[in-house]
């Protein structure tokens, strides 16, 4: 069964091909069966393979398919590598992916481009599986770019609106900045270590590079660049909120559960390099911390239901980076998994809300919907609880591990921990702000809203609710992967620490309740304060990062493009042409047509030549 691991990406790939080649001529039912079924089959095989792999007790398993290209030492192959980490990722991708596909069959049912949607989705799953299963960095890069492409295609899925196209291109180009850094990292690794096979490369790095050597730092930094771009961390986080322009299942699958966590996967996969470059690892932690705080502030100010979730995603991935930086590799992957559950749940529930309210995104135009949309309501309650890491939900266990690992970091551990706790506080505020505003209070319109409760949409929500609640009990089999990792020894921390960590989200929820539920604090009054108002606007715009990038990157590029539309270098040749032409015109003036003039010039020439002859 393990040998059939190549089936995993093959099923969705076949789904993609059959949907593309038929070009939308299939009936919807069949499209749905192909689209969701292929991922379902993938999930099924993933489960079987996992069972066998875990039963075998092996640390890893390699399936070599064919040599991709072989030039001298450079021999990346189409080889799949299965270990605990890729196993977890593979199950998340196919499992959550299948649920979201199932949900989509209901969600997208009215869309004219039904088939195209599932084609892209299938391609995405295939590419994502390549990313996590590839045994070398080139294959990983193939998946990496492939998911980027699908992300682009799906964000711009409703292409009639140019804004969507803009968001899609922004997502692709911004992540490609990171990808470029990663590509350079690949070049560096190959040039220095002579292989791009991940395991061989890591081994060679351990043998050849000393702790903190400049090469290790450079390599780790470059890979981090790729991870930061894909996972929407500072400073390349600006694309993710705009990416919400895509259909909601896309946001759930790509921009919450799987693709955006690819950066976390990459860092975890190449953790040896980061361990060799402790400074870069510390940088990872601080990037995570900064991102989670920044995104937390911003999430509190957004009005668009999907943007709130997007910023919360950025913030949660920030936690994962914090964990990676703290060396708690397993905790990061664990949080990745729980996050996939509860964030997919939240997005799908948000999709239900949006669909029921006829594509209304502004939470302040909703309100009081808990009766009308019960499934969505409960989904949000459970999802938000897990997001805020309330005790006994899945998010609690993973975030708890992360914060403890952060505290254990030597040096700035306390700082990291405090930042994380503040982040948790914010998480409480913004997650329940959403719940309170949308589901409680007075209805702000859409009184006729009725829940779209087709089983294909309800069932995934139910399943994800269960996972979001109980996912914390899953044991991830990562010990063999991160044998060298830190953060395993149970830190002996005081009860106070635990109390603070548990209290923080509750405090946040409380604040949120006071503002948005009981209205003890008046938001309008607060907004009247100029300082609060300008802060609000600053946070709302995502800390002005978009405007900043617009000013320092986009505008100069557009300016350069505009002033040099007709190619400066060509004007040099145009100059040559005009010089030749004017010289020609000048000489043509001597062509008077008068015979006497010609004879005279001939005579003058004769005189001249003889003079020369005489003189020489």
């Amino acid at each position: 069964m393990q040998d059939l691991i190549w089936l995993l990406p093959t099923f969705p790939m076949l789904g993609f091909l059959s949907l593309v080649l038929t070009g939308g001529s299939l009936p919807r039912k069949i499209v749905a069966v192909i689209g969701a079924g292929s991922v379902g089959l993938s999930f099924l095989s993933a489960v079987l393979i996992s069972a066998q792999f875990l039963a075998s007790g092996e640390d890893y398993f390699v399936k070599e398919l064919w040599v991709w290209m072989a030039i001298g030492e450079f021999t990346p192959g189409f080889n799949f590598y299965l270990d605990g980490l890729s196993l977890v990722m593979m199950l998340i991708i196919t499992g959550v992916g299948f649920l979201i596909h199932l949900y989509s069959t209901g969600f997208m049912v009215d869309d004219p481009a039904y088939s195209r949607f599932f084609a892209y989705m299938n391609l995405f799953v295939a590419a994502m599986l390549m990313l996590v299963l590839g045994d070398n960095l080139v294959l990983l890069y193939l998946g990496w770019e492939g998911v980027g492409l699908c992300s682009y295609l799906l964000i711009g899925f409703w292409y009639e609106n140019p804004d969507n196209g803009y968001a899609a291109r922004k997502a692709f180009v911004v992540t490609r900045v990171g990808d470029t850094a990663m590509a350079i990292g690949l070049f560096l690794l190959f040039t220095q270590l002579g292989t791009l096979n991940i395991q061989d490369m890591l081994q060679a790095a351990q043998q050849q590079w000393a702790m903190g050597s400049p090469l290790a730092i450079a390599a780790a930094l470059l890979l981090l660049g790729g991870a930061v771009g894909k996972s929407a961390q500072l400073p390349l986080q600006t694309w993710l909120p705009d990416a919400m322009a895509g259909p909601t299942p896309i946001s759930a699958l790509i921009h919450a559960a799987t693709m955006v966590t690819a950066g976390v996967y990459l860092v975890a996969r190449t953790h040896v390099l980061f361990e060799l470059a402790p400074r870069v690892q510390m940088l990872v932690a601080f990037v995570g911390l900064a991102t989670l705080l920044m995104a937390g502030f911003t999430a509190m100010t957004q009005r668009d239901i999907k943007r709130i979730l997007a910023y919360s995603t950025i913030s949660q991935i920030g936690y994962m980076f914090l964990a990676l930086g703290a060396g708690a590799w397993s905790a990061a992957v664990f949080h990745l998994m729980t996050h996939a559950f509860f964030k997919a749940l939240l997005f799908l529930a948000a999709g239900t809300v949006i669909l029921s309210l006829h594509h209304e995104h502004d939470i302040f135009k909703m309100g009081g919907k808990r009766k009308q949309l019960p499934i969505a309501f409960w989904s949000f309650i459970i999802g938000s609880a897990a997001l805020a890491a309330l005790p006994f939900t899945s998010g609690f266990y993973s975030k708890d591990e992360i914060l403890l690992a952060a505290l254990a970091v030597e040096g700035p551990g306390m700082l990291l921990w405090i930042g994380g706790v503040i982040g948790a506080f914010f998480t409480g505020i913004y997650s329940f702000r959403l719940v309170f505003v949308v589901f409680f209070g007075d209805s702000q319109g859409h009184h006729e809203a009725k829940e779209e409760a087709h089983w294909s949409m309800a069932a995934p929500l139910m399943l994800l609710m269960v996972l979001a609640l109980l996912g914390g009990w899953i044991q991830v089999p990562l010990d063999a992967v991160f044998s060298s990792g830190a953060g395993h020894e149970e830190a002996h921390v005081s009860l106070l620490v635990h109390a603070v960590m548990i209290a923080a989200p509750f405090l946040g929820i409380g604040v949120s309740y006071l503002f948005f539920m009981s209205k003890v604090f008046d938001l309008d009054k607060l907004m009247a304060n100029p300082l609060a108002n300008s802060l609000h606007r600053f946070w709302f715009s995502g800390w002005g990062m978009d405007a900043l990038y617009q000013r320092i990157f986009v505008n100069p590029f557009l300016y350069l493009a505009r002033i040099n539309r007709s190619d400066l270098i060509d004007s040099f040749y145009a100059l040559l042409v005009s010089i030749t032409r004017s010289a020609h015109l000048m000489l043509a003036r001597t062509q008077t047509g008068y015979l006497g003039w010609y004879a005279l010039s001939m005579a003058a020439g004769l005189v001249l030549i003889i003079s020369l002859g005489v003189m020489l």
Binding site: L600, L606, V607, I610
Partner: protein, 160 residues
């Protein structure tokens, strides 16, 4: 012979001046014939009787008759004569005459140290024809083709 040479040379120069300054075209032609005949005499004095005769027959005879015919065909009357006079303004002459003078001066300068006195031996028709039909036979053929071409084109051009 020396005297003959100088006399003929003087006549040639004077009559050539006549050619270029005359405004009456027929007079000019007569001067030209005179000039050519004088040159024929020069040839003779240089011991080249064959070309002297050819000069007189072909040049002064045949070619000049052609000119005469054309002048007659063109039928230039009094108005061309007047026109001719108006065209011969002094300022039109200055530059060409100056150029020609410079050219001549250069020639004289080049010849300044060239000094060979000869007593011309007659190089007659025998030697010329021996060469013509010896080494230069190809040139003769070419010349005949040239003449043929001239004949055809002249016929074609002068035709209506």
């Amino acid at each position: 012979m020396m005297i003959l040479f100088y006399i003929a040379a003087t006549v040639a120069v004077v009559s050539t001046v006549g050619v270029i300054v005359q405004s009456n075209i027929v007079h000019a032609l007569i001067y030209l014939i005179l000039s050519l005949l004088a040159v024929a005499v020069v040839f003779f004095s240089l011991g080249a009787p064959f070309v002297a005769v050819l000069e007189a027959i072909v040049y002064a005879g045949a070619i000049m008759v052609l000119f005469l015919f054309v002048i007659m065909m063109l039928n230039m009357g009094q108005h061309t004569l007047d026109q001719e006079k108006t065209w011969m303004a002094a300022k039109d002459w200055a530059l060409p005459a100056g150029l020609a003078a410079i050219l001549l001066a250069q020639l004289l300068y080049v010849l300044r140290e060239y000094r060979v006195d000869i007593v011309p031996n007659e190089v007659g028709v025998l030697e010329v024809s021996a060469l013509l039909f010896g080494p230069y036979v190809l040139a003769v053929e070419l010349a005949s083709i040239l003449l043929l071409a001239g004949l055809v084109s002249a016929y074609h051009l002068a035709k209506k």
